[in-house]
């Protein structure tokens, strides 16, 4: 028993240490050296989930590619520094940025009020809609056709928030099944355990591009949202500098060009 208590005490202390590290940067230092720090090391690190096509993912050769990747490179070039990409587990992203392992989260990250409590966001750089995906031969045409049906999506995603925010739709369906990733939800759509999947329009565009025969989307959508870049709370100077470069990349048409190459049209916010 004594030994157990000692162990428990050790565990609690270890956890407390962990908690100390993870508490969102509350002890901001007197002066903001965030920009100087980035400039001194000559690069900033983008944290991303590398299984999130087409925003950021691995191509056949294992290279990290995607719309956000190209955009981040263009912004870094504008700032005259390098950019590095650090794959992270999306669930642990808050820890990664709090510990300073990554400088920004730039990964199709939807701006929400809850997230704003922990991080500062850039201005929205892109609009994204939530679409409802069904099998090509399914009888559903409108949201109303999905009454009493099971709907899948990615856990904790903005798609899930969009379903919950649409009270009429969310009360009419049988329930929501939450998957760790969108591709698993789409797999289960084919297996027949769910009747529809709600996902980012960008996600649908990617899978539709790979396989246009299996899936289609309903004409009705579940509301639009905005993507932003997330920064630690105390990095105002760095955020301002990056924002300026991003505005320039959007203004001079580079961003539109990148967008054309990934989506076939300009998705960037003006």
């Amino acid at each position: 028993m004594k030994r157990f208590l000692a162990l428990l005490l050790t565990a609690v202390m270890a956890l407390a240490l962990f908690a100390g590290c993870s508490s969102p940067a509350s002890q901001s230092s007197a002066e903001d050296t965030s920009l100087d720090d980035i400039m001194a090391k000559g690069h900033f690190i983008v944290g991303l989930d590398d299984s999130f096509p087409p925003m950021g993912y691995r191509d056949e050769n294992g290279n990290i590619v995607g719309f956000d990747i190209d955009l981040a490179k263009a912004v870094a070039a504008q700032m005259g520094i390098e950019v590095k990409f650090q794959p992270v587990v999306w669930e642990n992203i808050a820890l990664e940025i709090a510990n300073g392992n990554v400088d920004v989260i730039w990964n199709g990250c939807t701006i929400t009020d809850a997230r704003k409590e922990t991080f500062d966001f850039s201005d929205p750089y892109m609009e994204n809609a939530q679409v409802v995906i069904v099998l090509t031969d399914a009888p559903y045409q409108t949201l109303a056709d999905l009454v009493g049906k099971q709907v899948g999506t990615q856990d904790g995603s903005s798609s899930q928030i969009a379903i919950e925010n649409n009270a009429e739709f969310s009360s009419s369906i049988a329930g929501i099944t939450g998957y760790p990733t969108y591709d698993k939800a789409l797999l289960d759509l084919v297996a027949g355990r769910v009747d529809a999947v709600v996902a980012d329009a960008t996600v649908f565009g990617y899978y539709y591009g790979i396989d246009p025969t299996t899936y289609r989307k309903l004409d009705e959508e579940l509301g639009a949202e905005e993507f932003g870049i997330a920064f630690a709370k105390d990095a105002d100077a760095f955020r301002a500098a990056l924002q300026e470069a991003l505005d320039e990349v959007i203004a001079n048409g580079t961003a539109a060009q990148i967008s054309e190459s990934w989506f076939g049209y300009d998705v960037t916010a003006n």
């Binding site: 565990a11 908690a19 508490s23 809850a114 856990d155």
Partner: protein, 218 residues
């Protein structure tokens, strides 16, 4: 919102996740412990074909990741035939029970084979049947010997339940991760850690009590 307030706000969700963890844990244990004992008898049977079949089963189950087996039962079987589409919870119980049975088989086998040959010969001389020897002489000793290993496996099972996230079941760790993604905060992981610690603590105490019960010759 400070950490304590945040965790209290998440408590209902965390407890629901804990309920799912406990459900998978206990049903798997109730199925795979007796099944493991039965199949281990086939594993040491004199029938070569049966013994070999069980050996291959254990090899496959212990030789591939449980995560892969879960995904096979859930996503793979429906691809083979739509009639094999089962609810997620059923899939989890099937995959976990098959996997843990294989480990229990090997643990029981080790216990049975650790009983000295001389006892078998003595039982034979006394005119005991093979069934009587197994039931009265070997198993009572073997089970006593394997209790610590079984306890180990049971504690591993508590933590392995976290794998069901991959087939869209929300157990304790998954609920925590979802909250962390949604709110961009990581405090909930501490609460989850403490809950797992409490669960395994109860397992350890129960194991101790069972071991004491079996220690009747000491």
């Amino acid at each position: 919102m400070n950490m304590i307030e945040y965790i209290i706000k998440l408590m209902p969700a965390l407890l629901e996740g804990t309920g799912m963890t406990l459900a998978i844990f206990s049903i798997t244990l109730v199925i795979s412990l007796p099944l493991g004992l039965l199949v281990s008898l086939l594993r040491v049977s004199k029938n070569r074909v049966v013994a070999k079949a069980v050996e291959i089963y254990c090899w496959v189950m212990r030789g591939t990741p449980l995560l892969l087996q879960l995904m096979f039962v859930y996503y793979g079987l429906p691809a083979i035939s739509p009639s094999l589409t089962m609810p997620a919870f059923t899939c989890a119980i099937i995959a976990f029970s098959l996997n843990y049975t294989a480990y229990f088989v090997e643990i029981f086998r080790g216990g049975i084979e650790s009983i000295e040959q001389g006892q078998l010969e003595a039982a034979d001389v006394l005119g005991l049947s093979r069934y009587q020897t197994m039931r009265r002489i070997i198993l009572p000793q073997a089970i006593k010997r394997v209790l610590p290993s079984l306890g180990n496996e049971v504690i591993t099972l508590v933590k392995d339940t976290a794998l069901v996230y991959t087939i869209a079941i929300h157990e304790l760790l998954r609920v925590t991760q979802i909250a962390a993604t949604r709110d961009f905060r990581s405090d909930a992981f501490i609460a989850a850690g403490v809950i797992y610690l409490l669960l395994t603590f109860v397992c350890t105490r129960l194991q101790k009590r069972v071991e004491n019960k079996f220690a009747y010759y000491r």
